[in-house]
Symmetry: C2
Subunit: 313 residues, 2 copies
DNA sequence: CACCGTTACGGTATCCGTAAGGATT
DNA sequence: AATCCTTACGGATACCGTAACGGTG
């Protein structure tokens, strides 16, 4: 049994039972992988893959157990390598963050700025996607941490920690009738066509719930995947935008007006998600702390060890 | 990085930083281990061992972290091999039990008998020792499970589950004055010299506590590591024995009489200890269930996953 | 002097890549 | 016809064991 063989096994499974694709991903040859997997299956006495003729078509029940163990080991090996790098060059490395548009565009910039000043030799990679994709990226090891607002709590392989609360505002063109009446009500809002986030996104559910609780049925004319698109269509006069408050910047959005709506909707909590068992380097912890000061390294570590219950900010 | 290298690393640490001993234990050559460890240290960029000239004299702080990861991986590899064997030949293998004398001599025989009938191809190995040694054997992987009564709960790497309660009896030669007076009292017992277990053993502490609670100071003239020794000295007239009830067998111990003492002492709980993260085969679970019927495979598995609180029989 | 780890060296086995074969979609 | 896994084969590499060397208690 070799770590190499286990890596091959995992990659083939990851690539959808395609040895050729696995070979390409690992920069090696198909026959090499094919043979090593055979050798491993021989040694363990377990056939992992169901073969139909000369094609892999499935994973046996036993194979799933083997695969799970193999993944743990490969992951541990990666951790060990990370540990080596950490000890050698603690301020160098790669920080991969999976996050949604709103975070990347409006919340992270000052954090990234501070982080880069402190760790100039750390390369930053931002993976953008919807909350589900973002969670998957961390679960599969493609990203070190995820920052998103919902749907990141489902996967048991992930640990999510609350970072900050936020709420929404309505945005309208200058001179819009809603600007006169204060404070804003859901009834008033529902008189206008609305432009807001796609359902899969940052707390969109809370918007729906608030209207539904009053028996209102708002006319949502457009849903978008990011705040900038929403603002663009509000500028065009398509309707009233319902945005995350941090996505409105009076200076940058001079041709829009915001109306506070935090009293209308349940607040949303943005969370950071980490993969359990994934080794985190000092700069990972530092980034998290820059983003959410209450999440110090020791807080995160004890949460990763499992003894911290879900806590609230 | 190779599994082999990690194995070497662990073995050297285990053998007290002695490469030669590790080589002997792994049936290979010193130079091979020496070189592979160098290569690993090079690759990780971490010096694991403190070298004084040409001698290993310690483990660096970083090395401890590396070693911990290495041990996890080696252990996982062993688990994977076990899994292979399990799937191939579920009824063959080796069951290594670490236990104390009393269990091995008086409690386990009928269990082992039933087990051997069901799994004739499983080789049984019994490691005998005091509770501390027994726990160490499991923690270090030298035994699959431990059965003992105390001091097995300390190690966080171990999971212990309660199996059954027991208490003590007094044993005396035929015609002893204590046989007339019923029921037995601690005051009566303390009139005679006592022969009982060594302090490190099966619930000896509870015996002391009971006497101390009444301000009595019994005269313990001999302590022993196993019940047979105690009975032998009682036969010689050295004193009154205080024994685990299951260690008295009226048929076999025809020249001794037992007096129930279960109302005098706190009951003791015999537990089975398992190493967290250690793969258990079907026959392991089956043995545990034969020993303690309430500990079915699913009960043990969910306890190993950590979600079961300590429960009582 | 005995013990221990490192270096040097040679043989062997393993692993990898190329090329060709057979099966499936 | 294209894709994909397997088998076969050759070369390079890495690993392991023996032998010799250099420190250390």
């Amino acid at each position: 049994m070799t770590l190499q063989q286990l890596r091959y096994l995992c990659e083939v499974a990851k690539q959808g039972l395609n040895i050729s694709a696995a070979a390409a991903a690992l920069h090696t040859s198909q026959p090499g992988i094919s043979k090593q997997i055979r050798i491993l299956e021989d040694e363990l006495g377990v056939t992992v893959f169901v073969r139909s003729g000369k094609r892999l078509v499935g994973i046996t029940a036993e194979g799933k157990a083997v695969l799970a163990a193999a993944e743990r080991m490969v992951h541990e090996a990666d951790n060990l390598r990370s540990l080596g790098k950490e000890l050698r060059t603690p301020d160098e490395g790669i920080l991969t963050i999976a996050t949604t548009h709103t975070q990347a565009r409006y919340v992270l910039p000052p954090v990234v700025r501070k982080f880069s000043d402190r760790y100039p030799a750390v390369k930053l990679i931002l993976h953008q996607g919807n909350p589900e994709q973002v969670a998957d990226a961390v679960a599969s090891g493609n990203a070190d941490l995820a920052i998103a607002t919902e749907a990141v709590a489902a996967n048991p392989a992930l640990l999510t920690l609350p970072c900050y609360q936020w709420n929404r505002c309505a945005v309208v063109p200058p001179g819009h009738p809603l600007l006169g009446q204060a404070p804003l009500t859901l009834q008033a809002l529902s008189q206008y066509p609305l432009v807001t986030y796609d359902f899969s996104f940052t707390g969109r559910a809370k918007v729906n719930e608030a209207f539904a609780a009053l028996g209102l049925n708002p006319n949502v004319v457009l849903t978008a995947l990011d705040s900038d698109v929403i603002k663009t269509y509000v500028e065009l006069g398509l309707g009233v935008g319902v945005l995350a408050s941090m996505a409105y910047d009076p200076a940058r959005d001079a041709n829009l007006r915001a109306i506070d709506a935090s009293h209308l909707f349940q607040p949303s909590v943005t969370r950071v998600a980490l993969r359990r068992g994934h080794y985190l380097r000092a700069f990972h912890y530092h980034f998290i702390e820059l983003f959410a000061p209450q999440l110090t390294q020791s807080v995160v570590q004890s949460a990763l060890l499992g003894d911290a219950p879900d806590f609230v900010i």
